[in-house]
């Protein structure tokens, strides 16, 4: 194991922009994609990395100084910049754990299918980055890449079980039959929503409240447009930082540009991963398609379009900024990941059965705690970014993200490792316990299915 990891350490030393193209190209050839296509896929990923690096550089070097001025002028302690999930994904894939995450997760999925501990064929290769992200942070805390990898695997096991358990709700509320959403970010909020929902059920009066969100989408629609959100936020931050009018406008346009360009760059990364993801899902589909009731695991983006999810997320964009300013202990300035709030709700929406009031309460709670978690994890995320040879603007700047920097499951796994071996044992017991519970349910369901036939 250590030889393999030190070999990967060497390749990693080349930096993500060189390393990822090589790795993707090799994976592609192994999985039977043509050589030319594999090479092009690898290079596309490299282009995505360089592009993201440039844009994050522009974000940091423009927003960083403004944020610091804001801190000195008003004592607003929002010194940690939210660089967004595309950067978090790039950092995760560029980590040592991230390099082996695709074959490892495929293997975990196959083992879980063979042992009947999951019903999901997870073809969403891209979102393996969530597990790699947890793994990379654990590797930093423990100083061991092997433990990082173990944490990533356990994280995946937990998320796969949550994916199976929420699948009937996904089918009913989101109208996606045969689909489960084993998504490292969305999945983490399902258990929390179940608890909050139960608590609300117990409070007389409050348990009857519902808010109609129908008209929200029209009125708040503008909060869903990155070009507007970025520019307006840039202008506000510039003004609070005490810039003169020309610099305020420049910051506004630059921030609008950053929010528009980040997804463009990330989509290049995605495009490069596609041949790998296609080949992997074809392989796994071919070998595991005839095993009783099966779900295809997709990116929870397929559920983001639910009207309630979109409406609540739009309201929460300004609310999150307000919470960030007034919440004691928070240091994160929400920015690039304001666009990621809908992902939190993909599995909350089925749990609260479309109740607008409950979705909103859930949102405020998870975002407030999320900001504190993102603050808490920011030194680790900054270290991970430096390890990945990311060009961070100024040494004083720390970065974080809401996805997955504010992810409660990621946080729990990382912080349990502060306790040493016992922490990892606890995580392993939880993950394996959930897997066995799931296995019992799957076998029971299979037996009932057989009886019905």
């Amino acid at each position: 194991m250590s030889y393999i990891l030190s070999f990967f350490n060497f390749i990693q030393g080349l930096g993500a922009t060189v390393m990822m193209p090589i790795i993707i190209c090799i994976f592609g050839i192994i999985l039977g994609t043509e050589k030319g296509k594999s090479l092009r896929a690898g290079l596309t990923v490299g282009v995505g990395f360089i592009g993201l690096n440039l844009v994050i550089g522009a974000l940091g070097s423009n927003l960083g100084p403004a944020v610091q001025q804001m801190v000195t002028r008003f004592g607003l302690h929002l010194s940690v910049i939210d660089v967004g999930w595309p950067a978090a994904a790039a950092i995760a894939f560029a980590s040592t754990v991230g390099m082996v995450i695709i074959p490892v997760c495929l293997l975990v999925n196959i083992v879980m299918l063979l042992t009947n501990t999951t019903q999901t064929i997870d073809v969403d290769i891209w979102d393996y980055w969530h597990f790699a992200f947890t793994g990379a942070l654990v590797a930093i805390v423990t100083g061991s890449q092997t433990l990082g990898l173990v944490a990533a695997v356990l994280n995946m096991v937990i998320i796969m079980v949550i994916g199976d358990y929420t699948a009937p709700g996904v089918e009913k509320t989101l109208g996606l039959p045969g689909v489960s959403l084993p998504h490292g970010f969305s999945g983490a909020y399902a258990p929390i929503a179940i608890v909050i929902n139960k608590i609300i059920d117990l409070i007389p009066g409050v348990n009857k409240i519902d808010i109609n969100m129908d008209k929200i989408q029209e009125k708040f629609g503008v909060f869903g447009e990155p070009i507007i959100v970025g520019s307006v936020l840039g202008i506000i931050i510039g003004a609070v930082a005490g810039y003169d009018i020309s610099k305020i406008l420049q910051l506004g346009i630059t921030m609008g540009a950053v929010l528009v360009l980040i997804p463009r760059m990330a989509s290049l990364l995605m495009e490069g991963l596609l041949p790998i993801s296609d080949a992997a899902s074809e392989f796994i589909n071919k070998h595991f398609s005839n095993r009783g009731k099966m779900y295809i695991g997709l990116d929870s983006a397929v559920g983001v379009g639910h009207p309630l999810t979109l409406s609540v997320s739009l309201i929460l964009v300004p609310l999150t900024l307000l919470i960030a300013v007034i919440l004691p202990g928070n240091k994160v300035l929400p920015f690039a990941d304001l666009a990621v709030i809908p992902w939190m709700f993909v599995l909350i929406t089925p749990v609260v059965k479309g109740n607008g009031f409950r979705a909103l309460i859930n949102g405020v709670v998870v975002l407030a705690f999320g900001l504190l978690i993102a603050t808490n994890l920011s030194p680790l995320i900054t270290t991970a970014a430096i390890n990945a040879k990311y060009a961070l603007p100024s040494n004083a700047t720390q970065i974080s993200s809401i996805c997955d920097g504010a992810n409660p499951l990621t946080w729990a796994i990382v912080r349990l490792n502060d306790l040493g071996t016992i922490g990892m044992v606890i995580i392993a017991v939880v993950a394996i316990g959930l897997a066995l519970m799931n296995r019992r349910r799957i076998l029971k369901e299979a037996a009932e299915l057989k009886l019905a036939q």
Partner: protein, 93 residues
Amino acid sequence: MKRILLACGSGVCTSTAARVKVEKILDANGYKGQYKVDQCKIAEVASKSGDFDFVIATTMKPDGVKCPFLNGICFLTGVGVDKVTKEILELMK
């Protein structure tokens, strides 16, 4: 020239996957160079859709879409691609 809007949650991941597959289908059916594809977030579809001939989204249909809307989740699962392919080719005529 047909203008096609491809939407997903972020305008990044699943819409890229669907875009690559839709482009392949269109090229294979002789439409190469006769279409232009844009990607966006599902939240932007309502305001952008007026400028496009049709929308393919890998998530649910939001309110206020001003052009034909196709569900492209099949391009992720691989189930039911033929039916949507037929609908796309119909809209390209």
